[in-house]
């Protein structure tokens, strides 16, 4: 049981890294338009596939965690989701007044903020439960 828990956790980390490894080159290739549009679409789909597998592995790892760690993850996701939703709402309201900065709050940055908020939530929750 303990072995399968470790294996599930390791798998989710491996696929997180695999997602990162596919995402960053895809961004570079698409930004500098190295290939034509049909191949670029395929390149854009590769990180989506690795991300889907990562999420699948993460959910599997979540299901074998003990209940304290599940609570930590749940609270991290809630905090991350709430802060991301709040940021998007603020950006939308500001955009109605034509106040926006694409350099800081473009799609790519929003993705980073989303992960940042998740890790903030994780840190808060870990401290709360002392794990």
């Amino acid at each position: 049981m303990e072995q399968s828990k470790k294996m599930a956790s390791r798998n989710s980390i491996i696929f997180a890294l695999l997602y990162g490894v596919t995402y960053l080159p895809a961004v570079w290739l698409l930004k500098y338009r190295v290939f034509g549009q049909p191949i670029s679409i395929i390149i854009a789909l590769v990180p989506v596939i690795t991300f889907s597998i990562f999420i699948f592995k993460l959910i599997k790892a979540f299901s074998v965690m003990d209940e304290v760690k599940q609570r930590v993850q749940l609270e991290a996701v809630i905090i991350g989701f709430s802060l991301t939703a709040m940021l998007i709402m603020i950006l939308f309201l500001l955009s109605l007044m034509d106040i926006s900065n694409a350099g800081w709050f473009g799609y790519a940055n929003l993705l980073c903020f989303c992960w940042l908020f998740y890790f903030i939530g994780w840190f808060i929750s870990k401290r709360k439960y002392g794990v």
Binding site: M1, E2, D66, V68, K69, R71, K128, Y129, G130, V131
Partner: protein, 67 residues
């Protein structure tokens, strides 16, 4: 919710690691429960009562503030 996990552990001469192994959770989780930061589920509480060989009410008691 207060608990007597530390007392029961001492009675068995178990470390947190030993208890964690017996009930299939991590040592950090045992620490979180023992220090009252996390209230365990009924299943986990019953597992603890089984490995300690005492009634669950003896390990976990409601605080006045729980009412």
């Amino acid at each position: 919710m207060k608990n007597t996990i530390k007392v029961e552990r001492a009675r068995k001469n178990w470390t947190q690691e030993d208890l964690a192994r017996e009930i299939g959770i991590s040592r950090q989780s045992v620490n979180s429960i023992e220090t009252g930061k996390f209230v365990p589920s009924t299943v986990l509480a019953l597992k603890m009562s089984k490995v300690f060989g005492v009634n669950v009410e003896l390990i976990f008691q409601l605080d006045e503030q729980d009412w």
